[in-house]
């Protein structure tokens, strides 16, 4: 198949290119076509200078100084930019934290005996969490302990007192906690206005943002951004962390394993079910039910060899990490999976799901099944998922897929013969185990300079950037510089597809990292989970800081979201920066219209938190800048002279 130059500019992934070419040849619309039709996009929006908060608006600030310099209410460019930016943080923190509420509620249901469809798979992890929270774990009934942990977690969402979240106190390194308190005190003294940094309630900080960005409340760029930081910390060290930790308890803490990635995991001879979205609650069940003999037998009766469940996006990462279920692709491949003509059913829950899938699936035999009470997709089939009837719902979905197998049109099936193997499952626990039970060997490698530092990369994909290009080129450039790369979300899928998560890829790493990979038998790029699992990276950073007796910002760590798209990424970037890790972004976030906001995020943050944002379009230049940050931190630690 000849791939056009245009398709080549859309994706570097060979499987995606094949299907994109097919789509182009058959005039099938994808996100790339729709984005093209959106051009030109609004410059005011791009700069963050359009305010739609009240009905006097929309107001726009003229970035060239000729027209209006204030909104109708008098809001300046910086007020407008800051208000809209922290609303993005609020939405991102809400998405990830609301995700975390679900396993917390489920754990409570399990503990109270109200849910028989799920159990506690990992009591050891439960005890570890309880231990961190200061609960006694000796000779405790597991369900009783689970109830206590779930209650503390749920309390963190909705508590009304002024105290810091229990999970934040339990997981954040002590030095960082003290630093945040000091920052809040200093900012309050400087501005003679109380400014808080430590989150009090996960939901509350999000509501606080919506309140203070309402017409006529908070207009100070610093005050607004500080609240954005507070809500993001409630997400990173709160809601997201609760999601990861309690999912590990219910579904198991990921262990190192092998799995396949890319569209080639779809099977021509089996019933293909793609689970897409973010939460593991339903996808776990679909995997379990589909593997059962009852469903496999039903599939054979329909002329298929069996049922093949594959993941897409972060719900895919969840089951990939825990069960090695193959993953069909990342965000920009959701439409491409359907265009292969080989998908009997795509089941979705929440986040990052294109509404366009409904219309697209109608052009194929694919059933597009929505399952969440929070997410309706006009044109989809809705099967309401209820946790207390999880087995029943999952069986209904799998059966529907199997019965759709005979509707498949073989002449329309085109599955790219492209997959790559990846070593996945690097939870913090799995990493520590690989290191021999303590973080010391990793620290030793960092101290000796074999590993210069660690960069954490997170999704998304964004069609404004050639699909997977930045993810892969940045990771390659970093490992070549002896920088260990860890990450999650759509980046992790891109890296798995590109073969960067194989032991053999260590040959492309610098000599130091190569040696470490060989000694520990790990690849140079580590898959740490879904995007909600960015909390795993925080926990790892915390563990390294605690072991060394330093703060996180002393460590040679950098973060990056090089193809970012979602509001979740804004919250993630902010909690990393506030935790002391500088974060690279591409594309440019909508803040360039506010000089003060730009200064706060790219310069002041460095002085206050020890980490700041930076923007860079070129992967090699970004890698260079990261190496510089790492070198500076190493010098300050006395590791290099």
């Amino acid at each position: 198949m000849k791939i056009s130059e245009k398709v080549k500019s859309q994706s570097v992934d060979p499987a995606s290119r094949e299907i994109l070419q097919l789509a182009a040849d058959q005039d099938i619309e994808t996100v790339w076509n729709r984005l093209e039709k959106q051009q030109p996009q609004c410059g005011f929006g791009e700069l963050g200078l359009c305010c739609r908060i009240c009905a006097m608006g929309p107001c726009r600030i003229d970035p060239f100084g000729e027209g209006a310099q204030k909104g109708a209410c008098g809001a300046t460019a910086d007020t407008i930019v800051a208000r809209h930016l922290i609303r993005m943080i609020a939405a991102g923190a809400a998405a990830h934290s609301d995700h975390g509420r679900r396993p917390a509620l489920l754990l409570k249901e399990i503990a109270e005996g109200h849910n028989q469809d799920y159990t506690i798979i990992d009591p050891k992890k439960l005890k570890a969490i309880a231990g961190r929270l200061g609960l006694s774990t000796e000779n405790r009934d597991i369900k009783e302990l689970a109830l206590e942990v779930a209650t503390i977690a749920l309390n963190d969402f909705g508590k009304q007192d002024e105290k810091t979240l229990a999970f934040v106190k339990a997981y954040t390194p002590k030095k960082r906690l003290e630093r945040w308190q000091k920052i809040a005190d200093n900012l309050s003294a400087l501005s003679s206005k109380t400014i808080g940094i430590l989150p009090r309630g996960i939901d509350r900080e999000i509501v606080d943002i919506m309140h203070r960005t309402h017409f006529g409340v908070d207009h100070g760029p610093l005050s607004l951004i500080a609240q954005g930081v507070r809500a993001s910390l409630g997400d990173g060290w709160g809601g997201s962390l609760i999601a990861t930790e309690l999912q590990d308890v219910i579904f198991g803490t990921p262990k190192i394993k092998e799995a396949n990635a890319n569209l080639g995991v779809l099977d021509k001879e089996q019933v293909n079910i793609v689970v897409h979205g973010h939460e593991p609650v339903l996808s776990e069940k679909i995997v379990e039910i589909a593997a059962g003999e009852k469903m496999q037998k039903l599939a054979r009766a329909q002329g298929a060899k069996g049922v093949n469940v594959v993941g897409m996006c972060c719900t895919g990462n969840e089951i990939l990490m825990r069960h090695g279920v193959p993953i069909a692709g990342n965000e920009l491949q959701q439409e491409l999976a359907i265009i292969t003509g080989a998908v009997e059913l795509m089941s979705v829950d929440v986040q990052c799901i294109f509404p366009a899938l409904a219309e697209l699936s109608q052009c194929f035999h694919t059933h597009f099944v929505a399952t969440s009470d929070q997410a309706a997709f006009p044109g989809s089939i809705h099967i309401q998922f209820e946790e207390d009837k999880a087995n029943f719902c999952a069986e209904k979905i799998v059966t529907m897929a199997i019965e759709n197998f005979t509707s498949r049109k073989p002449e329309r099936v085109q599955i790219p013969a492209v997959t790559n193997q990846a070593m996945v499952g690097f939870s913090v626990e799995a990493i520590i185990e690989a290191l021999g039970g303590t973080p010391e060997p990793l620290l030793d490698a960092i101290k000796s300079g074999a590993i210069k530092g660690v960069v954490g990369i997170v999704g998304c994909n964004n069609p404004k950037v050639t699909h997977d290009f930045y993810h892969i080129e940045l990771a390659k450039a970093l490992i070549a510089r002896d920088i260990l790369v860890i990450g999650s979300g759509c980046w992790a899928i891109a890296a798995a597809k590109a073969g960067l998560m194989q032991i053999e890829t260590a040959k492309d790493a610098g000599p130091g990292l190569q040696q470490v990979c060989k000694a520990l038998n790990i690849p140079p790029c580590l898959h740490m989970g879904s995007c909600v699992d960015c909390s795993r990276m925080l926990v790892l950073a915390g563990a390294l800081a605690d072991t060394l007796g330093v703060d996180i910002d002393d460590l040679p760590l950098v973060g990056s979201a090089p193809e970012w798209l979602t509001e979740k990424a804004v919250s993630i970037g902010t909690y990393f920066v506030a935790s002391g890790v500088s974060v690279h972004l591409w594309p440019m976030p909508p803040i360039a219209g506010g000089d003060q906001v730009m200064e706060l995020l790219t310069e002041t943050a460095e002085k206050v938190f020890g980490g700041a944002f930076f923007v860079e379009e070129d992967p090699l230049k970004a890698a260079e800048k990261m190496a510089e940050i790492i070198a500076k931190k190493r010098l300050a630690l006395g590791l290099d002279s």
Binding site: P40, C42, G43, F44, E46, L47, R60, D62, P63, F64, G65, E66, G67, M588, A592, G593
Partner: protein
């Protein structure tokens, strides 16, 4: 030759044309760099609104341009395309051109007492404001084509009214 035409009923007042015009007349030619240039680049198209309707208005580049006649120093001149350009070295800021312009599209350069006006983007095939317009309020086409389409519209209207 193509002409820059306005379909005022399509203008949503988004001012994308203004931003694109300023970017095209900047050094860096990108929005992100243009907003930080000193002197700031200026746009030469103005979305004029009375609160109900908007009109994205730029120099009409009249053939027998009154501004040309009014310019005493010869700063204003017509290029081979028929576009009226200003040689700013000769401009003395007398505003005669503004006074005679039927459209009011002559502006003041924001860092010196000289005029600034549309040059119809000599480096571009399609003027920046036209490319930037998301709703088709600005178009760039041959007059023949435009008038033919208008006549077709009239035909369809007549057919519809007689049916």
């Amino acid at each position: 030759m193509k002409e820059l035409l306005i379909r005022a009923e399509r203008c949503l007042g988004c001012r994308s044309c203004e931003l694109a015009c300023a970017v095209e007349h900047s050094t860096g030619k990108s929005l992100l760099s243009a907003i930080n240039e000193d002197p700031r680049p200026q746009y030469r198209v103005h979305v004029t609104s009375d609160g109900n309707s908007s009109l994205p208005l730029q120099c009409r580049n009249c053939e027998d341009a009154p501004c040309l006649t009014a310019c005493l120093t010869g700063a204003l001149h017509q290029d081979a395309r028929g576009i009226v350009l200003c040689n700013s070295d000769l401009c003395i800021g007398c505003w005669m051109c503004l006074m005679v312009c039927p459209f009011g599209i002559i502006s003041q350069n924001n860092h010196e007492r000289r005029i600034v006006k549309c040059d119809r983007c000599p480096d571009l095939e399609i003027p920046a404001c036209v490319t930037a317009c998301p709703s088709g309020a600005l178009i760039y086409r041959e007059i023949d084509q435009e008038s033919r389409e208008k006549r077709l519209d009239v035909l369809h209207q007549l057919l519809n009214s007689t049916l």
